[in-house]
Amino acid sequence: MHELSIAMSIVEMAQEEAEIHGHAQVQAVHLRLGLLSGVAKEALLSCYEMACAATPLEGSKLLIEEIPVEVFCPQCEVPRAIRSIQWFCCPECGTSTPTVVRGKELEVVALELKE
């Protein structure tokens, strides 16, 4: 269970950003979470609430956008979203490929601030 330390990093990061923007109050944090990031969405959501407790972010929301895994198909020569992370192959032509182009994201993309 590493979601708590990740949630704490998110809270810390959001606080720093809010300070840059004139100590505005953070209402929501927008996070991009790849399905191959190794972080579980549900666990992160509950840890986020805990991590916010007794901080200026208490009561704020964590809005998660889940990013599907895309691999680069060497046959079709384009990125393709895979159907399951248990099977790394092109859904169109079936070629196996280890080249992940998307899906490992764990990034704060935006904050909703209130003055």
Binding site: M13, L31, G38, I85, F88, V100, E107, L113, E115
Partner: protein, 227 residues
């Protein structure tokens, strides 16, 4: 009346701090000519046994050392000390994985220029370590025959994050009716093209291939210093 919240763009990687430290470590390993190899697996898959065997086999010809992560004990470091190689235990307390900064701290006082191979044994866990880059050159993921052939499908993220898969406890394969073909096909499904070794650290069966692979990898990635 309250104003509408304003949206500000951030775009920051949450694990940026870890990634920065990991990148610095990778650069240090490269400059020092040491090949860093990490080991991940579930608890009890045989990381320490494999490490002990690798250290013992490499030590006559190379300068080897190991860092071992554990939640609470120093048992692994004591076991590995039998190989005569320098070993340091990283006790993580309640943390279920190693982070790059823990590796960095543990290396304090060690001269990496005096090493050819550095092994980093992660805490037994197939979930959390996948998110943390440790700056290693190669990540080995272990799967023991007693765990079942479908482990890669159950934990695709960690298998995908690794470079090499090692099927361990091969001496028990027949007793547990381990289906080697199924295990290998599951590994290839979650990480196409992955190098796979099948071995027993206990009997030594299959160990030579693994050692040869490490030697070759070091030669290719550290051409200036390889012996």
């Amino acid at each position: 009346m309250s104003a509408e919240p304003r949206l500000v763009e951030v775009r920051k990687n949450v694990l940026k701090q870890n990634d920065i430290v990991a990148r610095a470590l990778r650069e240090r390993f490269r400059e020092a000519g040491v090949l860093a190899v990490s080991l991940v697996s579930s608890p009890g898959s045989g990381k320490t046994a494999l490490l002990e065997k690798m250290l013992t086999m490499l030590r006559p010809r190379y300068r080897v050392a190991a860092l071992v992560g554990d939640l609470a004990t120093e048992n692994d470091a004591q076991r590995l000390a039998r190989s005569q190689a320098p070993v340091k235990q990283i006790i993580t307390g309640t943390i279920c994985h190693l982070e790059a900064a823990m590796v960095q701290n543990a290396l304090e006082g060690w001269d990496l220029n005096q090493l050819d191979f550095l092994f980093i044994e992660n805490v037994g866990n197939l979930v959390c370590p996948s998110s943390y880059d440790l700056g290693e050159d190669l990540r080995f993921v272990l799967l023991s025959v007693t765990e079942g052939e479908d482990k890669p499908l159950k934990y695709p993220t960690i298998f995908n994050s690794a470079d090499v898969a090692i099927i361990t406890k091969w001496d028990l394969a027949a007793a547990v009716e381990f289906d080697e073909a199924a295990a290998k096909s599951n590994i290839q499904a979650v990480r196409p093209g992955m190098e796979v070794f099948t071995l027993s650290a206990k009997t030594g069966d299959g160990m030579c291939e693994c050692i040869k692979f490490l030697e070759l990898w070091r030669k290719l990635s550290r051409p200036a210093v390889a012996i």
